[in-house]
Symmetry: C2
Subunit: 310 residues, 2 copies
C-alpha cells in the first residue's frame, strides 16, 4: 500500500507517492495559479493525483489514504479550509472537492503543522514524546507535537508560535502586533536589520551585496565581516530568548529548527546551544535538545502522506 | 469513599478530606517549620492525616487515595521531590516517606499544576478540552491542561509560564532573566512600578499608603486616582499581550486568572477582554474565553485530592 501526500502551496501543487518504508517513490506538481476559481484548482489537484498513480502503475486500490497540507486555518474534522489568507479561500470544502477524483479517506492539515508532523514521525523528532518545530523563514511558523499527537488547539488554529511576544511594544510585526517573536526571529527580520544597518557601514560585505538575503548576512558573519557578526549575534540572542521561553513553558524533549535561516546548520545551533541555557530557569538546567530539521523540502509532501498515522 | 488532599506549603501543611461529591468535608493543618529535617516534616504530615481521619470517624478503608501538592520540581512517577527551591529538598522520596502512615496510593503534583487541575475538574475549566490557568501572585505561575490531561512536560518541569519573554532585555526577573512575563504581570511587578512612580506623585493615594500592595494600586485605580489608573492600565496592557501570545500559541478553550491580582475580578477581566483580542492574530478573532478562577484557597487541597482522576 502507498499513501499520497499533497502540498498545496501558493505557487505550486506538489504531490508525492509514499511507500510503506516511508520513502517518496514518485512526485509531480502543477502550478496553483492562485486567484482562479477554487474548483479549477481542485480539478487540477485531482487530475495530478490520477496522473501520478497512472504513470507509476498504481491504481486507487493501492492507496491507503490521501493527506493534504494547505496554508491557513483548516478544520480537519469537516475537511474544510476555514480561512486562508494567501489563497483567499473561506469555508471551502477541500476534501469533498477532491473526493470524486480519488475514493479513499482524505486527511487535511495546516502546512506548518504537516511539516512538523513529518519531522516528528520520520525526521529528527523520532521517538520524542513532546516535540516543537520552529520554521525560521519569511515568517516564523511552528508545529507542536504533545504526547505523540499533533496539537492544533481547541479551534484548529493553534501553534502560531511566531506571534508570541518577544519584545512587546518593539518592532512592528506583519500581524499588526509590535514585538512578536516573528519580528525578530524570521529571515525577514534579519534582512530588515541588515538593510537598516548596512547604510552606516558601507565597507561591509552586506552593504556591497546587490540583494540582501538571510544568507548574505550569515555568509558575512561566517567570513568575520564585522556588521555580519554583530547582526548574527543579535539574531542569535533574540532567538535564544524566544526558544528558552518555549522550553520554560512547555519543557519539550526536542526543539527542531527548520526554514531558510536554519540552513546555517551548526553555525546557528552551536551559539544557540550556548545562549539558550542561560535563559532556561529550571533548577536542573536545560534538558531539551536543539536540533536541525532534516526533512527539508520534502516535509510538505511527507507530512501530508503521514497525516493518517498516530 | 473519600480522597485526601495535602497542600505542602512553606508555612503550613494543610490537609482535607474530600467526598465523592467533590466537597471538602473536613480539614486541618500543622506548621511546616521549614528548615528542619525532612523526615520530621513528613512525620508531622503523616500524623496530620491520621488525626484528620480519626477525628472525623474515618479509617484507611474509607480512603481511595492521597494526593500531595508540593512546590518545586517533582517526579510524579518516582514520587520524589527532584528540586525544591524554598524547602531545599533535593531528590527526596516524599511519597515513600508518607506511605507508612497511610497504606493507600499516593499521587504527587507541583502546587501550581495541582491548583490548575482543581480549577479544571471542579472550577471554571469544567468541560474544556484545553485549559490554561495563570496565577498572578508574588510570581506568575501556571498550569496547563491539554486534551483533558495535566501537562507537565517531558521532564516534569513544564508550565513555568511566568518565565516566557514578554519584553526581552527589560525589567530584571527573579529568575535572572530580563523581561520575563513575571517581571511585568506579577503582583510584585505592579508593586515595584507603584513604588517607583509614587515618589513623583506625592498627591496620589498610593504615595500616601503606609504599605503598597497590589490591592493599594487596584483600589486607587477604582477610585479614579490618576497614578493608580495609569499603573493599572499599563499592567493590563502588558498582561493582555502576554495572554494573547498564549492564545496565539496554544489556542485553548479557556484561560483562567487566579492569584492576588485576579482578586480584582471583573475590574481586571473587563479591560482584558477589550485589550487581548487586539493582539490575537487568528483570522476569525479570539475564540478563547477569559475567566476568573473560582477555587480560591481551596485549590491546593482540592487539586491534590483530585490527582488520581482523569
Amino acid at each position: 500500500m502507498i499513501t499520497i501526500g499533497i502540498d498545496l502551496g501558493g505557487t505550486n501543487i506538489a504531490a508525492g507517492l509514499v511507500n510503506e518504508a516511508g520513502k517518496i517513490i514518485a512526485r509531480d506538481s502543477t502550478p496553483t495559479k492562485a486567484g482562479r476559481p477554487y474548483d479549477e484548482i481542485m480539478a487540477d489537484m485531482g487530475t495530478l493525483v490520477q496522473k501520478l498513480l497512472r504513470e507509476n502503475k498504481f491504481t486507487e486500490e493501492d492507496v491507503k489514504y490521501v493527506g493534504i497540507g494547505a496554508p491557513g486555518v483548516l478544520d480537519n474534522k469537516k475537511g474544510t479550509v476555514t480561512d486562508n489568507g494567501n489563497l483567499h479561500w473561506v469555508d471551502y470544502p477541500i476534501t469533498a472537492k477532491l473526493q470524486p477524483y480519488i475514493h479513499k479517506p482524505i486527511y487535511l492539515g495546516n502546512d506548518a503543522n504537516v511539516a512538523a508532523w513529518a519531522e516528528y514521525v520520520r525526521g529528527c523528532g523520532k521517538g520524542a514524546e513532546n516535540f516543537i518545530m520552529l520554521t525560521l523563514g519569511t515568517g516564523v511558523g511552528g508545529g507542536i507535537i504533545l504526547n505523540g499527537k499533533l496539537y492544533t488547539g481547541s479551534h484548529n488554529i493553534g501553534a502560531e508560535i511566531g506571534h508570541t511576544p518577544l519584545k512587546a511594544g518593539g518592532e512592528l510585526c506583519g500581524c499588526g502586533n509590535k514585538g512578536c517573536m516573528e519580528a525578530y526571529c524570521s529571515a525577514t527580520a534579519l534582512i530588515r536589520n541588515a538593510k537598516r544597518e548596512a547604510v552606516n557601514v558601507p565597507e561591509s560585505a552586506i552593504a556591497k551585496a546587490n540583494v540582501i538575503s538571510a544568507k548574505t548576512v550569515i555568509d558575512a558573519a561566517k567570513a568575520g565581516d564585522e556588521l555580519g557578526v554583530r547582526l548574527f549575534q543579535d539574531y542569535v540572542s533574540d532567538l535564544a530568548q524566544a526558544i528558552a521561553g518555549i522550553i520554560n513553558f512547555l519543557d519539550p524533549d526536542i526543539i527542531a529548527l527548520g526554514g531558510g535561516v536554519a540552513n546555517a546548520g551548526e553555525f546557528l545551533l552551536e551559539p544557540l546551544r550556548r545562549e539558550v541555557p542561560k535563559h532556561v530557569t529550571f533548577p536542573g538546567g536545560m534538558a531539551t535538545r536543539l536540533l536541525s530539521a532534516q526533512m527539508g523540502n520534502d516535509a510538505g509532501i511527507m507530512g501530508a502522506a503521514l497525516l493518517g498515522e498516530g
